[in-house]
Symmetry: C2
Amino acid sequence: MAHQLIMDQFLPRFSNPALERMDDSAVLDMKGCRLAFTTDSYVVDPPFFPGGDIGRLAVCGTVNDLSMSGARPLYLSLSVIIEEGFPLRELRTIIGSIQRAAEEAEVLIVTGDTKVVEKGGADKIFLNTAGIGILQDEHIFISGNNAQVGDQLILSGSIGDHGIAVISEREGFSLGGNIESDVAPLNRLVQDMLQASLNLHALRDPTRGGLATTLNEIAAQSRVGFMIEESKIPIREPVQGACELLGLDPLYLANEGKLVAVVERQAASLVLQAMKRNPLGKDAEIIGEVVKDPKGMVLLKTKIGGTRVVDMLIGEALPRIC
Amino acid sequence: MAHQLIMDQFLPRFSNPALERMDDSAVLDMKGCRLAFTTDSYVVDPPFFPGGDIGRLAVCGTVNDLSMSGARPLYLSLSVIIEEGFPLRELRTIIGSIQRAAEEAEVLIVTGDTKVVEKGGADKIFLNTAGIGILQDEHIFISGNNAQVGDQLILSGSIGDHGIAVISEREGFSLGGNIESDVAPLNRLVQDMLQASLNLHALRDPTRGGLATTLNEIAAQSRVGFMIEESKIPIREPVQGACELLGLDPLYLANEGKLVAVVERQAASLVLQAMKRNPLGKDAEIIGEVVKDPKGMVLLKTKIGGTRVVDMLIGEALPRIC
């Protein structure tokens, strides 16, 4: 529904080149200085979940959106909407998480705003962060529009951890195993990748809607196809188990510390090696490649040898996951 | 409460020079290019009110915060949190207002985000805008910290219109008269003022908490006093009438299309003339001046000849006014 609203209501009204690229960040030229600019609101329910909280999420999410343009994130804004009666102790914990995540990502929170609404006017706490980053090399041109036939597709690690962590906390499931959100700032991983090669064509973090949605978006924007192999996609065993139990497809689950890179074929192994040396990319895998046809579609070679179409997610299966 | 939260919880944790200036925008140096960066969330209730709506407010509020640093606003982000079931027709109207206000202020909306929460998870619609502007002249140093003894205080027009417009709509009062919000983008007015003189020391738009709160903030930040004259402060007659009826003090009512300028004495009349030539500054008045003592305080010469202290607003008399 959010996707449809954006496509139908917002995009046609605010037409301009930066917005129409539909990337995670807008890239702006300001007096010869190329900046990335992005925003996200965070409404995750519950605000505390295994492996993180809404504060860590709000910093990492925006740092990651900036990073997906190849920018180095520098400055964040922070806006807080609090429901009256939200415990001050929990607010302090969230602020502490924001502070630690900002330090980890080496970004400064330079401007902010706080609104308090009456009880029932909002559900606990919502955060918004916007961010500014700088593109340090003039040869960086990373966009969901740039995937080219033959490019290799690299996934930085296991999928589904964030989605399952939030759902299990929300629903009060005890899923055994040790399922924690992967929420983490990816800016240094991206810098490592750019050091290995500037031939990164597209980068995106598969958050809401998961890997399947992200790949469909890039395939549509670049007018290419993707062929991916199920056996190459890392899924941790407890996440796989939880998905089977709950009838969820891990391809559609949100991640908050993973990225997908579309990399020129010749550069792929160098980029992969650089990723594996970073703790946040140690499980990185080449999971497929860009093909000419069918355009705008994602095909999956299943473990049992078949091929199936991986559709865009219709409807929002899991609301308030981020 | 929001003010106290910011002072107690947020500021001590995110200490950095840009944030500690406590201005409406952070001013950032990026490769020799001075940028202003700001954010605000908008939770006004009701989202439609005489003279505007939450969409126009979200554009103007952030354009104005950028303008108060002397920057020329260029780019906005837009993030929307919508309650499930919010009428699509009203959403379209709000998007139309955003579009028109952005055109009026000559800013581009370049990045965005939409979250839908379940019914009861948020009250109708909340918006967040962040903005980037550029400081075009290297001699612009405008900050709430810069007010100096002898500076003249200029108010751009009548106060209280926005506050009364929202309250009357929310409470269903019919106050007679024609009370509309003053919500408007002030960037061109500020550019006109800067053309007249670069000796603007402080600029601020008296939104939440009104003129009284804004002046108290600047007085505290600059460690000076303000002496203002009640008779010089423009208040439209229906607003004055509504205040008397409702027991409200117009000095504490929110404005969304007004600014207060602290201007070097010699430059004041030139700046005032420039303001009066702009439709948004036609009722501008010199309402007082900066005095040495009492530091951090605002004194009002009343119409009947007395002098009283104008305090900081304690508690939030009017919630969800912006």
